[in-house]
């Protein structure tokens, strides 16, 4: 997990070249969520597996690709976070990560190709 923190900090620094400090940190949170999601769900927290992160910055967008070769996560609907703020017992303690990514990024796609799962996140500049 310390490597994931390092990657997200590196991404924050890259994004800070073209975004506000606050937005760069929000994007680094998205990247962190995506990588920890891959570790948790694609690899079931099993160690010694690779997660590849590709960061591209164009004139008009920043693109993150998070690539793993683990289990494909089936999610057909946009992530939702529906809860009653007054109902303490039933407040969510999971499922918030992809919701956060979906709200912050402008475009999120997930696909599988040749044994690799690719989560692509795009933020328009």
């Amino acid at each position: 997990m310390s490597n994931v923190s390092l990657i997200s900090e590196a991404v924050r620094a890259m994004c800070a070249l073209c975004l506000s400090d606050k937005d760069a940190k929000l994007l680094s949170i998205c990247l962190f969520e995506a990588v920890t999601n891959a570790i948790r769900h694609a690899y079931n927290n099993s160690p010694d597996h690779e997660v590849e992160v590709i960061v591209s910055i164009d004139e008009d967008k920043i693109r993150f690709e998070v690539i793993d070769s683990g289990e494909f996560m089936k999610q057909t609907q946009k992530p939702d976070l529906d809860f009653d703020p007054e109902d303490i017992e039933n407040l969510p303690e999971s499922g918030m990560g992809l919701f956060i990514v979906d709200k912050i990024m402008d475009q999120v796609t997930y696909e599988s190709s040749e044994g690799k799962n690719i989560l692509t996140m795009i933020k328009k500049l």
């Binding site: 923190s5 949170i29 962190f32 920890t36 703020p85 303490i88 303690e93 999971s94 918030m96």
Partner: protein, 112 residues
Amino acid sequence: MEIEERKEGNVLIIKIGEKRLAADVAFQFKQKMAAFIEEGHSTIIVDISDLEFIDSSGLASLVFTLKLLKEKDNFLICGAQGPVKSIFEITRMDKVFQMFGDDKAALAALSA
């Protein structure tokens, strides 16, 4: 993880002395908070003014703590700012937790 604690009357004030509350430390945080509650602390303020980064696991650790305390009035958060505050707003967790600008404001609310 670095946590400072102090008491103001029967209120335990926890200041998170880290810049990140995320998946790598969230479990430790949950353990510490559970231990405080086990010791008998029933009204807690968490000062997150030093946090620059919170992920869903960090949020979940705060939800976990609230569930242990069972009452919204007994668990207050202060100091959320910048991207951390945005994460609370995006997830509507700002409607769950009582949130204040600083520990003084949180303590004043408890005294009211």
